[in-house]
């Protein structure tokens, strides 16, 4: 066991981990931040996406020790201090961009990374960016609409309604 230290959602944290401990395991088991979900074991589903030093990362694909000293942001740190949803979270609720909620943390974190890179993405750009996030419930329709809305764009224009 080795002690690893990092900043998670603005807080200094530490914990003992094995070399093989994944960042997702560290977040969930050591820190109790169970909002980060694990939906696969091949780095495909994206339910575990967090931000490490500002970049979207699949936390199941990084060892906890690799994140030593890093600044990590998870879904638990996205709402305001008063609990109010941020723009992306609010858009997901407004446009029904989630059903069972399991992929949602990763979707929200990926969407945040997308809008940081590309503040006004097209529908095609959103769909291509979400290549690494699988949702089984929504058919993506309302996720795309939510992200479009969160970016301040006209939503009905993207949906065939």
């Amino acid at each position: 066991m080795t002690e690893v230290k990092m900043t998670v959602n603005g807080r200094e944290v530490s914990g003992d981990v094995e070399g093989r401990t994944l960042l997702s395991t560290f977040l969930r088991e050591n820190l109790g931040l169970t909002g980060t979900h694990v939906g696969c074991d091949t780095s495909q589903c994206g339910a575990c996406v967090v931000h490490v030093n500002g970049k979207a990362v699949k936390s199941c694909t990084m060892f906890a020790q690799e994140a030593a000293g890093a600044d990590v942001a998870t879904i638990e740190g996205q709402a305001g201090a008063d609990g109010s949803l941020n723009t992306i979270q609010q858009a997901f609720q407004d446009y029904h961009g989630l059903q069972c909620g399991f992929c949602t943390p990763g979707m929200v974190m990926s969407a945040a990374a997308l809008l940081k890179e590309n503040p006004k993405p097209t529908e095609a750009e959103i769909r291509n960016y979400l290549e690494g996030n699988i949702c089984r419930c929504t058919g993506y329709h309302n996720i795309v609409r939510a992200i479009m809305a969160a970016s301040g764009q006209d939503v009905p224009a993207v949906a065939a309604e």
Binding site: D41, C45, T74, F102, G139, A160
Partner: protein, 791 residues
């Protein structure tokens, strides 16, 4: 102007707040003090005899509590099957034992052989690798027809063959159907496969067993769509634990799609093992493990023949299906290819004579059971494909051939020749709506434009029927169900008028916490925020059958409606007393009880308070309190229907398909929350597109699952699907439940695969490639090869 509250409004989902902030409580988020972890050692061969299991090295490892094998389960039952099918000859299906851990033989890749319980998941996994299992591999049967051939290896040595049952429906019609087909003016024949799928809800299965010696109580936390069903099956048939000592909790569940209905070995294992090791025991499936242990879906091979008279009227239909059961009978597996499939073969049509033959077959593959739609997608796919082929052969428009043979609006209620009776529907209306949505009239111009770019454009239509709102208990009992299919609800009014609804339905994405309060709020005229839903815990809710078969609002919502009616009737008596009026004159609107024709009124909250503080109360006539329970057993299935249209462009050089549009015009009867209903359709259509274009649980001849991870099994991703057009304005309310609702959960997955395949076949024909059929998934290579085959 859309409503802003109550039935028909689309309030935002209240459950979203916790899901969007990481505060959901999924089973894997639960950790119990002192818990140990289990890792299952699973078979890596499809079929073999277990000679020996040497767990000594594993047991000696530090941190290992115990290694379990079949020997530990000698006093325990196998996993029960919840449905017995009777075959064509009146005999019961063959029903092999399904042990918790493999007994003497392994029968599919993934069959659990041993289980290590240890202090950490890592130790459990490492120790499982240290177990030495000596297995003599046997030849595997994977292909269904090969499994039925004389001399084929038997999956279960104690059965007479690999045939589970040979089912005929309606058996008395067989000769008449044969005769009608022989004499028909035209017969269209199609052979097709309904590809095997893996449901893959994004949350893998998890189970935690906990046992209290102090109270002799067991608790199972599990990723289930129906905790009461699990309690009954596991308690009564596997472990012998009475209900009052067994609590099953299904907290937030990350999607189900059918695969979380069933009672699985891992649930029984953790419940059993927790008592043996005297520690809570937790199991969390990896996705790789889910692929070889979750029940799969579909996997039918069918020959269908549609007979028409000289005027293109459907006169008879005959199908011959082989349905894969896998290695064991999963909980509801036998019902899927029979009663959930054969009864739907009339579709939307007036075909008078129908005969369905289904041979269910054991193979050395993962068990197959219900997956979104369950039997109904298989029925719709073959029927809507053969109708399309018939239209092409006869040179008539596929929409018009359907319309000509539709059951007409004035023919409802309509008794089909396959046992079910449709209460309502208007197929002409959904078809017309769909035709407008896709601008069918101008399709030729669009096709010409594609052609100019070297692309082949096609349009495909499917018109589905579904039987859901499952189901009348007395009917399914006659058909072999070993369970009732009612639903329960308790409406518990609190002293100040807020309400908790305890429902046997379970939400794993469907949004019950939002929609169910809409109904109560509408009935009483109070704000939805005054109503909460409690579900997913057998210690809290009355015995209910859970959520599947698009039954939550149709059956569970009806139970809630009935319970709320009882509450309102009692509250009216209290209000009458308070206002010194006759009960018959009491009216309830907008949360106020009033006396008809007067200005007297009393608020909902005051009546509720009087019920719990009964100082001024008719105690001689009425008990205090305001809480009522109802069990609702439907008198019929509900029958949603709809027209699904897919427009594609095929690249003839590569076989790649581009979905240009996908539109769905559904009749769900009354709609409680349009936003949620549309979301259900979107998700269902995406799963149907996944089946039609991408997904395939492929086995090699040795029984190895080739597509056993998300690297190999192509889940639909955001760029694989278009934005969808959805419409639910055609509403013929259900006539036999109090809300007039039909259910919407499975429709998308039922209607979409044939629409997409029909579109691709249409595109190929228009491009001069007369391909009659391509089996799903329509990968570019399959489409390209089909094009080459007719060049």
């Amino acid at each position: 102007m859309p409503k802003d509250h109550g039935i028909g409004a689309s309030p935002k989902r209240r459950e979203d707040i916790r899901f969007l902030t990481g505060a959901g409580n999924y089973t894997d988020d639960i950790n119990i003090h002192g818990q140990a972890y289990v890792h299952f050692l699973r078979s890596d061969v499809a079929h073999g005899t277990i000679n020996s299991i040497d767990a000594s090295a594993a047991e000696a490892m530090e941190g290992v509590l115990k290694v379990f094998t079949a020997k530990d389960f000698e006093a325990v039952g196998g996993l029960p099957c919840g449905w017995q099918v009777t075959d064509r000859f009146g005999e019961a299906m063959q029903e092999p034992k399904h042990p918790i851990l493999a007994e003497g033989k392994v029968r599919h890749v993934g069959d659990p052989i041993a289980a290590v319980v240890a202090e950490t998941p890592e130790i459990a996994r490492d120790a499982a690798e240290a177990i030495v299992v000596d297995i003599d591999e046997l030849p595997a049967v994977v292909d269904m027809k090969a499994a039925l051939a004389a001399g084929a290896p038997k999956v279960h040595d104690d059965l007479t063959s690999n045939l589970c049952y040979d089912w005929g429906f309606v058996e008395e019609n067989k000769d008449a159907v044969d005769e009608a087909i022989k004499n028909a003016a035209h017969v269209t024949t199609l052979e097709l496969t309904n590809n095997r799928l893996v449901a893959n809800p994004m949350e893998p299965r998890v189970a935690i067993g906990d046992y209290s010696r102090g109270t002799d109580e067991h608790t199972l936390y599990t990723t289930s769509q129906n905790p009461h069903v699990i309690r009954l099956l596991m308690g009564a048939f596997v472990l012998g634990i009475p209900e009052h000592k067994l609590r099953v909790v299904a907290p937030d569940v990350g999607g189900g799609f059918g695969t979380k209905i069933f009672h699985y070995a891992e649930e029984a294992f953790v419940t059993f093992a927790a008592k043996v090791v005297n520690r809570p025991v937790k199991w969390t499936a990896s996705r790789s493990e889910a692929f070889i242990s979750d029940a799969h879906g579909r996997d039918h091979v069918t020959k269908i023949e549609l007979a028409l008279d000289a005027d293109n009227n459907f006169v008879a239909l005959r199908t011959d299906t082989h349905a894969n059961m896998g290695a064991y009978l999963s909980t509801f597996a036998p019902s899927v290819p029979t009663w959930l499939h054969g009864t739907l073969m009339a579709g939307n049509y007036t075909t008078p004579l129908i005969y369905v033959n289904v041979k269910a077959v054991f193979t050395n593959t993962v068990p197959v059971d219900a997956y979104r739609g369950a039997g109904r997608p298989e029925a719709t796919f073959q029927l809507e494909r053969v109708v399309d082929k018939a239209a092409r052969e006869l040179g008539v428009d596929p929409a018009e051939l359907r319309r000509q043979n539709f059951i007409k609006p004035e023919q409802f209620p309509y008794d089909t020749p396959v046992a079910v009776s449709y209460d309502t529907g208007n197929y002409h209306a959904t078809l017309d709506t769909g035709l407008k949505m896709v601008d069918y009239a101008n399709f030729e111009a669009r096709a010409a434009e594609s052609k100019a770019r070297g692309k082949l454009r096609g349009i495909g239509l499917a018109h589905y029927i579904e039987a859901c709102g499952i189901a009348p208990s007395n009917l399914v009992g006659q058909l072999g169900a070993r369970a009732g299919l009612y639903e329960s609800a308790t409406v518990r009014v609190n002293a100040t008028g807020s309400i908790s609804v305890l429902t046997g339905s379970h939400s794993h994405g469907q949004g019950h916490e939002t929609t169910f309060p809409q109904v109560i709020a509408e009935m009483i005229g109070i704000d939805e925020s005054q109503v909460d839903i409690v579900h997913g815990d057998t210690s809290k809710t009355p015995m209910g059958m859970g959520t599947y078969g698009s039954r939550s609002i149709a059956v569970g919502g009806s139970a809630m409606f009935k319970a709320a009616e009882k509450v309102i009737n009692k509250a009216k008596k209290i209000a009458a007393h308070l206002m010194e009026a006759s009960e018959a004159d009491i009216e309830l609107a907008d949360g106020q009880f009033s006396v008809a024709g007067t200005d007297k009124s009393v608020a909902w909250g005051d009546v509720c308070l009087a019920a719990y503080v009964p100082h001024n109360y008719p105690l001689e006539d009425l008990e205090p309190g305001l809480e009522e329970t109802a069990f609702y057993d439907p008198s019929n299935f509900t029958y949603p229907s709809g027209a699904y249209f897919c427009e594609v462009e095929v690249d003839p050089d590569t076989g790649a398909i581009d979905i240009l549009s996908f539109n769905a015009a559904d009749d769900f009867g009354n709609v409680i929350n349009p936003m949620i209903v549309e979301g259900q359709v979107h998700g269902g259509v995406a799963q149907g597109i996944g089946q039609a274009m991408l997904e395939h649980a492929a086995y090699d001849e040795n029984g190895q699952l080739l597509s056993g991870s998300f690297m190999d099994y192509a889940m639909p991703r955001a760029a694989d699907v278009p934005s969808f057009g959805v419409d639910h304005s055609c509403q013929t309310p259900c006539t036999h439940n109090p809300l007039g609702v039909k259910g919407c959960g499975e429709a998308g997955a039922i209607g979409s695969p044939p629409a997409l395949v029909n579109a691709v076949i249409d595109a190929l024909h228009r491009g001069g490639y007369p391909v009659e059929h391509i089996d799903m998934p329509l990968s570019p290579s399959r489409v390209w090869n089909a094009i080459q085959s007719v060049k």
